[in-house]
Symmetry: C2
Subunit: 272 residues, 2 copies
């Protein structure tokens, strides 16, 4: 399984002004494609801090690094520069990216959203990308995304505005990701347990988890008003569809058997 790390960039995340929903969205998308997201980090608009995180991820043997935020025209948008610095690559004017930026400002000008289609230094900045970048067209905003493959790692940079991030991901990434991740399958089942006491479930879950190391098993307490409910999520991923699904079902069967003597039943909540 390919190992992924995510870096979300933006002071607004760390002063609590903006809730980072991008990381969760990327985690979900990559998980169901069969990748393993090991770690995610939120950092400030600080070139050094972003570069340190990229180098840290590489040192941990990460295959793919995703970043969100910091690609825009303002001076505190430092992600492209940080990627270049971390990978020891020059930041160069990417002609293909420049064409994308020109196209978007022409469209926005024609739609009356901007006063001029001219490529000012602030607009040109968005096409200054690490050498070797394949730019990713941004149909919602203006800053192109980055797909950058080096010998050791693939770096994918997306804008921080969720609508832009999702549009680039959906429109440009599937063929790249399918090539890199291979065919991956992910199966997940969620149950609510007829037991509101996680401490009773704990040893029973451990028994099943130990027997099925390839299946992910997680109980979660949720508070609804005065009431606590316990949900149990089981998931498995792998490249062999039938085998992955079978391993998951075997774990579920064993969990049902383990809970039965305590009179605990699993009520299905969801399936993906």
């Amino acid at each position: 399984m390919k190992q992924v790390e995510i870096i979300a960039v933006g002071n607004e995340l760390l002063i609590g002004d903006v809730l980072d929903t991008n990381t969760n969205w990327i985690c979900r998308r990559l998980t169901v494609m069969g990748a393993f997201v090991r770690r995610a980090v939120l950092v400030r608009d600080d070139e050094e801090a972003i570069a340190n995180e990229i180098q840290g991820a590489i040192s941990r043997g990460t295959d793919l690094i995703f970043t969100s935020g910091g690609l825009g025209p303002t001076d505190d948008d430092r992600t492209a520069a940080a990627v270049a610095k971390a990978l020891n690559l020059p930041l160069v004017l990417n002609e293909e990216a420049l064409k994308m930026v020109e196209q978007r400002y022409r469209e926005l000008y024609e739609q009356g959203f901007v006063d001029s289609p001219e490529i000012t230094p602030s607009r040109k900045k968005m096409a200054m990308l690490p050498e070797g970048t394949t730019p990713l067209f941004n149909s919602v905003g203006t800053a192109p995304g980055i797909w950058l493959e080096t010998g050791s790692v693939i770096v994918v940079c997306l804008p921080g505005v969720p609508a832009e991030l999702k549009a680039i991901f959906e429109q440009s990434l599937p063929p790249h990701l399918e090539r890199v991740l291979g065919k991956g399958y992910y199966f997940e089942r969620v149950f609510e347990a007829t037991c509101r006491d996680e401490s009773v479930l704990a040893p029973l879950l451990k028994h099943v988890a130990d027997k099925h190391p390839s299946v992910y098993l997680k109980s979660k307490a949720q508070v609804f008003g005065e009431e606590v409910r316990i949900t149990i999520l089981l998931s498995a991923s792998g490249s062999d569809k039938e085998k992955t699904e079978r391993l998951l079902n075997e774990a579920i069967d064993d969990l049902v058997v383990a809970l039965d003597p305590r009179g605990i039943v699993l009520v299905p909540v969801g399936e993906r």
Copy 2:
């Protein structure tokens, strides 16, 4: 200003099953108290990974480390063990925490939520805490939080269930935090610019930001349907209330002057 790092623990966050709202909530609370949140990370239920993040935060000179998640009764709740490991402290039965756990299970038993008030090994596990911990009473769930001051750093561990995290924070942390952070003031103003083009604003914002290094200034593009709107947030924090507010107002005045020649006006959105 005290430097803070946050570690959110849980596989469910990295498979995208659960959106981490705790980090945002803690960021906001600490920022308005005058602390500086430098970085936040999401890691899996992995003792080694959590311990590495704690040691990394200490190596960066962090004053306070907050963790969320991983304090419960199940085998994959590893935060207390990871804190002990990272700080080279033994994990010991904390008598005060044990009393808290006993109290909560007695209450839950009386309310009919659990079948027995008995302190089983899974329940006792929640009172096994790093030596020197001041336990924090959990009035919503069962696992006590951790307040742990060492010579070099303060570690605060809270449960991952948001209602439990917030309850412990509100009920137990204010006196501790006020002592550590001192009196801190935070002022913030948010405006919408009558300009939908961040690339036009970029050089004007840079001019003001360079002139006011102690004020945080951030533009943010948001997509509403077809329309992009630009909000500008300015904030300042410090220990001198009047001075902090004055610095912020001076930056706002200069921003108004800088935008005026382009016919751009700031429309107030919020004030905190």
